[in-house]
């Protein structure tokens, strides 16, 4: 009976992972297709990659997206970390339920609602205080910070909950001020969580189409907006090449980050073990 069960589970896993990976692998294979007709294999070539390099629009859109992603991920990490601290280290405070609601809701809120509501906010603010003037990179950043700080907050929060609070308490008992304790003790421990939060915020921003379409102005077109305007009409070989580049870079980044974090965690466990042995 046990053997039957594990055969079943292994089959499910194989099909599941095939389902997750085959479409991406096919895009990558077809990005090297020489033929202009996407579905017919016409030999191996790099021509679509070379075509991308000549396309000024793509390069400008990519640079804009990277700039927006970098700035919004950084601010979202700061605000999200503060939110994570507020939820785990500040006890009860007035409006805590509303606060958790505002942290949790952006994780599931349909993007069309977030996008529309932010645009209407910007339009109303424009009427009342004359800001933000031209909509573009800044308004997109604000939108991205708002939904990605919730992801950072959840990641940091779960790290803070799993960490041993006695270290911080000991430092406080010895007279450490809360701010210093946080800089010297808490921050180094939650740094890996902040890094994964930053990376997640970065990729979420790089990937967002809907919110950017709503809050952007006529001047600013991000990479996803540009991609969407092209693929609405069907599959094109240069987007295959672009997709391959983006997916490869992100995957390598995630693998390296995951490996670094695993190594750091192992190192930490070794240190703990060492300290324990020395004290015996």
């Amino acid at each position: 009976m046990n053997r039957q069960r594990s055969t079943f589970l292994i089959t499910v896993l194989c099909f599941g992972y095939a389902f997750l990976y085959i479409p991406i692998i096919m895009v990558m294979i077809y990005s090297f297709n020489d033929s202009r007709i996407v579905s017919v294999w016409g030999g191996f070539s790099f021509r679509w990659y070379l075509a991308l390099l000549d396309n000024r629009q793509i390069i400008e859109a990519a640079l804009l997206s990277l700039r927006i992603a970098f700035i919004s991920a950084t601010i979202a990490t700061i605000l999200g970390t503060l939110a994570g601290l507020a939820l785990t280290r500040m006890g009860r405070f007035r409006g805590r339920i509303l606060f958790t609601g505002m942290i949790v809701a952006p994780l599931v809120m349909p993007e069309v609602i977030t996008g529309l509501s932010l645009l209407l906010l910007f339009v109303s603010l424009q009427d009342f205080i004359g800001w933000p003037g031209e909509r573009g990179a800044t308004t997109i950043m604000i939108g991205h910070i708002t939904f990605s700080m919730a992801y950072v907050a959840v990641i940091v929060q779960s790290r803070l909950m799993s960490m041993d609070q006695s270290l911080e308490e000991a430092a406080m008992d010895l007279g450490g001020r809360p701010f210093r304790v946080m800089i010297d003790i808490t921050l180094p421990i939650i740094a890996p969580a902040m890094l994964s939060g930053w990376l997640l915020a970065f990729t979420l921003s790089l990937d967002d189409l809907v919110i950017a379409s709503f809050v952007s102005g006529p001047g600013a077109s991000t990479l996803p907006m540009w991609i969407y305007s092209k693929i609405r009409l069907g599959v094109t070989p240069d987007i295959n090449a672009l997709a391959t580049i983006i997916i490869t870079i992100v995957s390598i980044g995630v693998v390296i980050a995951g490996w670094l974090m695993l190594r750091q965690e192992k190192q930490r466990q070794q240190d703990v073990q060492l300290a324990y042995n020395n004290n015996l």
């Binding site: 009976m1 589970l9 292994i10 499910v12 896993l13 599941g16 389902f19 997750l20 990976y21 085959i22 479409p23 991406i24 096919m26 895009v27 605000l79 503060l82 939110a83 507020a86 500040m90 405070f93 509303l98 606060f99 958790t100 505002m102 949790v104 809701a105 599931v108 809120m109 349909p110 069309v112 609602i113 977030t114 529309l116 509501s117 932010l118 209407l120 906010l121 109303s124 939108g143 910070i145 708002t146 907050a153 909950m161 007279g175 001020r177 809360p178 701010f179 990729t203 809907v210 991609i227 969407y228 609405r232 069907g234 599959v235 997709a243 983006i246 997916i247 992100v250 995957s251 995630v254």
Partner: protein, 305 residues
């Protein structure tokens, strides 16, 4: 150590305030307040102006009324079939997709939870990896799989299963595939987090006492994994209900999902008040599942404390 200087106490209090107030204020201004504005504009009339809707309050001299509001947008939502069909169809597609995700995701999460620790890390990483890479591009990948001369049709024709290519892309079927594909990690991760904590000694004890595997699953594993099922299902269902990219790229003209209808209403018809009304109703539909989700999250965190 001069730790009790009044100056330092003030700094401590200010720091505490800052930690709470900074993210609170940001979310209040850019997440919560905009909903009030959506609500307000949903009672306005569309006009050809900048911005393209009538103000709720108008204190200028030439205005005949200082307060103007209309229920026309909501009346229109009720009368025009397009919106009814969109809401119902979104609900149906989101519900069926959630069930499909659960059917595929549960055995996968279970298998990962029962794997050896080394394998577990690798398998889990492979679930998370696609979640990091572009959502838009992963949906795009299915356009290449499903199109008339795409990978699946070519394969089926070459093995002689069909002679004519099937119409797969731009159908409801493609939308189901796209949603299940994109949201599967959201189902698997909370299920895994739940299943990995289960005490499998219980299962073994039941097996020793002669219970059949299916009975063990039904009476022990399944009831204990209900929190994971709820979290995963809501993480799929709520965003899927308002999904725009997947129906826009993979769906046909008749795949009316409410996110897409709202987007078109806004960008093609430029009817801001009507889109606001559509969004308000969608929010009202989502309030209940979101409250369940939040309640669930809070329970989870309190439990861990």
């Amino acid at each position: 150590m001069s730790s009790n200087l009044p100056q330092q106490r003030i700094m401590d209090i200010l720091w505490r305030r800052f930690v709470i107030v900074a993210p609170y204020l940001w979310l209040f201004i850019f997440f919560l307040a905009p909903f009030a504005i959506i609500f307000k504009i949903s009672f306005a009339d569309p006009i050809v102006a900048q911005p393209p809707f009538t103000p709720l309050f108008n204190f200028s001299v030439q205005a005949d009324k200082w307060f103007y509001f209309t229920l026309d947008n909501y009346r229109f939502l009720l009368e025009d079939n397009l919106y009814w069909i969109s809401y119902l169809k979104s609900f149906k597609i989101a519900f069926i997709s959630t069930c499909l995700c659960l059917l595929i995701g549960y055995p996968m999460a279970y298998a990962i939870a029962r794997a050896s620790p080394v394998w577990r890390n690798v398998l889990l990483f492979l679930i998370i990896l696609p979640f990091w890479t572009s959502f838009l591009l992963r949906v795009y990948a299915w356009m290449g799989m499903l199109s008339t001369h795409g990978v699946i049709n070519n394969l089926l024709i070459s093995i002689g299963f069909i002679d004519q290519p099937l119409k797969l892309l731009y159908t409801d079927f493609a939308v189901y595939v796209g949603i299940v594909y994109s949201y599967l990690p959201f189902m698997i991760l909370p299920l895994f987090a739940n299943l990995v904590k289960l005490d499998f000694d219980l299962n073994e004890a039941a097996a020793d006492l002669g219970a059949k595997p299916l009975v063990i699953f039904r009476d022990i594993t399944l009831p204990l994994s209900i929190p994971g099922i709820i979290a995963g299902s809501l993480l799929v269902f709520i965003p899927a209900l308002g999904e725009f990219v997947i129906p826009a790229l993979l769906g046909g003209l008749d795949t009316l999902m409410i996110g897409r209808t709202l987007y078109d209403e806004f960008f093609s018809n430029r009817d801001w008040p009507l889109s606001s009304a559509v969004a308000t109703v969608l929010l009202l539909i989502l309030v209940l599942p979101m409250m369940i989700f939040q309640h669930h999250q809070i329970n989870e965190t309190d439990y861990q404390e």
